[in-house]
Assembly symmetry: C2
Homo-oligomer: 439 residues x 2
Amino acid sequence: MSQSKIILGAFVPGVLTGAAWRLPEAPKDSFRSFEHYRYIAEKLEAGRFHSLFFNDGVKVDLDPGLEKGPNSVRWDPLVLAPALATVTRHIGLIATASTTYNEPYNVARKYASLDHLSNGRAGWNLVTSLGGGENFNRSEHTLHGDRHERAEEFYDVVSGLWDSWDDDAFVQDKASGTWLDSDKLHLLEHQGKYFQVKGPLNVARPIQGHPVIAQAGSSEAGIRLGARVGELIFTAQQTVEESRDFYENIKGQAVAFGRSRDHLKVLPGISPVVGSTQAEAEAKYQRLQELLDPQSFLSRISKFASLDYDLAELPFDDVVPLPPENFSTDSHPSRQKLVYDLIRRERPTVRQLFDKLTAGGHRVLIGTPESIADDLQHWFEAGAADGFNVMFSGLHAGIDDFVDGVVPELQRRGLFQREYVGATLRENLGLPYRHNRHR
Amino acid sequence: MSQSKIILGAFVPGVLTGAAWRLPEAPKDSFRSFEHYRYIAEKLEAGRFHSLFFNDGVKVDLDPGLEKGPNSVRWDPLVLAPALATVTRHIGLIATASTTYNEPYNVARKYASLDHLSNGRAGWNLVTSLGGGENFNRSEHTLHGDRHERAEEFYDVVSGLWDSWDDDAFVQDKASGTWLDSDKLHLLEHQGKYFQVKGPLNVARPIQGHPVIAQAGSSEAGIRLGARVGELIFTAQQTVEESRDFYENIKGQAVAFGRSRDHLKVLPGISPVVGSTQAEAEAKYQRLQELLDPQSFLSRISKFASLDYDLAELPFDDVVPLPPENFSTDSHPSRQKLVYDLIRRERPTVRQLFDKLTAGGHRVLIGTPESIADDLQHWFEAGAADGFNVMFSGLHAGIDDFVDGVVPELQRRGLFQREYVGATLRENLGLPYRHNRHR
Ligand SMILES: Cc1cc2nc3c(=O)[nH]c(=O)nc-3n(C[C@H](O)[C@H](O)[C@H](O)COP(=O)(O)O)c2cc1C
Ligand SMILES: Cc1cc2nc3c(=O)[nH]c(=O)nc-3n(C[C@H](O)[C@H](O)[C@H](O)COP(=O)(O)O)c2cc1C
């Protein structure tokens, strides 16, 4: 617990929220309605959330259950975030972009532009992507090792490009006709294994120095990258002990990279279902679960975790068989590990596993504002989290429940901000301004 | 003249407007202020302009005169356009993106997203770019032929991805739990020389079917691409005869591709300087010209046109020497041709050439609302233009002068719309909805 208060980020829903779209009260067509996103952004800003987090991918998952629910069809977050920047003033806008399927010059440019447009509220969730090669001239998704090596160099190029100009390079002196001071221009001249990039970037230096770097790797290589460059670390953790281990591990590695422990914030995901009584919350949860199609969901999990059996084919009340001791050579070992660990630790039935995983590996918290606040407080004070990234379970009711119930409870306890404290996302998160390396 | 009324687009300034930034009344820091762009967008929408056009590049021009004025440092148009979509309701948003330095999947996604966000107002100015290879792993800008071949295939992939889903694919039937109808999904399975892209796109089909395609090539290959796929054709033309030839040429080629003449609209650029009298307009123009640095500007032109001498080294009142008969093997023959033709046709002095080219090859129109309306009417009725893309000469005064002076004059003559006629950019331009090829 390095931070005096809890940080709250939000997954921006519209998609990926299980079966919430089937609730009678859920707005239709929300995934293609700006008014829906505007509602969410305004509500969460009123609730003093630190950031909106837009996850993303570069393909449609054609897995079993494609037709059963929203999965990967959504607007580009780098189009949605600028639009939301104009209807909000404080909340951070953290958009995902892939280092595997982009060019660093383009990525540096877009985030720098977003940072200007939003007056210093941009963040980049740096991902290597969970697939998509088939849409980018490749027959396979690039191998795990390669992807991370490229990601490391990609970050170096992007951050180097952000330092192309000193903060005061654009003097715009009307009298002398001097638009810029070319002594304040720095060519990058990067020559690496994956990239040759000369620079300079054709955007002025971002307002925050650099946009905030969010990162969510959970493999060894992913954690190393997070420890080196991440500032907000998203993670899926099921127990307070495991989360504390993760927290200490990544902060320790960051210190070994010469960074301060306080300059990266760890945010496990949670999926709250809030009721005014425990029974009401349970009922809300049951209502959501009943709307999910278990067969396609279980097949999806089986594929997601590269199990060698299909959970959908097992009886619902059977105990899930133990997975093999070793991980496969799958390109996403961390997802596999999450599911394997859960099966080993809890020996769940198929139904229990199904319940555990409906939030994509994040904890489902079913309770009252008080009991959920208790849980968050416990994790925060135990040093298992600097805050939480919240995945809402209903549109828009799930958001309203949290903002109107859990947030005031956390504020009453002095655990959550009543007002935004800074002007930029960095300031609000307690992260330092990033000075130009050429200073 | 295929259209009963003139189409007006606007270059979105902030940069690239010569020395206008030096005027005492010009707002400072406009190139990094959303309020500046919002002002322009709102003013031009009030003036019933059809579209905002955001030009773009992927490098900083380190040419002579870098420090003398804004050139290539600007926000990414695909970040600015979504933001402006939220503060406007009718005006089209045409952002430039390069086929040389992007991946088609990413481009298809972003424009489809922008089209949704703006309720059908997105356009893509498809360019092969004027340089930038040094920022994208290449030692040189890709050769002219290659770039166009790639551009042709790039367009095919992007437009194919836009047809990934039928318009009614996302049924979202709450009762049965059917999110989408997978019979309405179409894989692209593109296997070409430059791209292998499987699809589907992870965005629903755009509101307009396809966003409007703008194109501005002027080489032979560029015009062929425009004739095949362009719907708005931007061009720089100095005389009504040349423009009519260009107009007939590209429309004729479009017809040979099986298209209707009316489905591409030709918009030469103009740079108006408006005064309430001719003398006032001339004075405004002189005031702007005096703020330009002629030496760096002339060196820039010399480089731009690949002249084999530096205009900046010639006396200001000397006649410009004739360029060689043949074009060099420069990768941008069309820019060279524009300058060569001008020199041959008009045998200008250095000063006259300087005056002619301050708007980047577009005609500078200095006059009253009436005389400028006369000129536009003449070009329009002579079949030399379906409309004009306007490059303003001052911030914000140059925009106000045009919208408050020339627009009402054109409206009085029945040549320009008093209200937007349609809901989408396509409808406003008189272009047909693009049906899904899988229909
Ligand atoms: C909370 C969370 C959110 C994530 N969001 C995304 C995302 O939006 N897009 C993506 O491609 N990967 C996402 N991931 C995956 C990781 O960022 C990472 O790319 C992936 O796990 C592969 O790296 P690894 O092998 O280190 O785990 C997310 C992971 C977590 C834990
Ligand atoms: C009015 C106009 C606007 C243009 N805008 C851009 C632009 O924003 N970005 C760009 O890279 N090229 C721009 N161009 C250049 C062309 O789009 C084209 O890419 C270039 O001329 C090379 O193709 P070409 O050889 O066919 O001329 C513009 C050209 C004209 C005439």
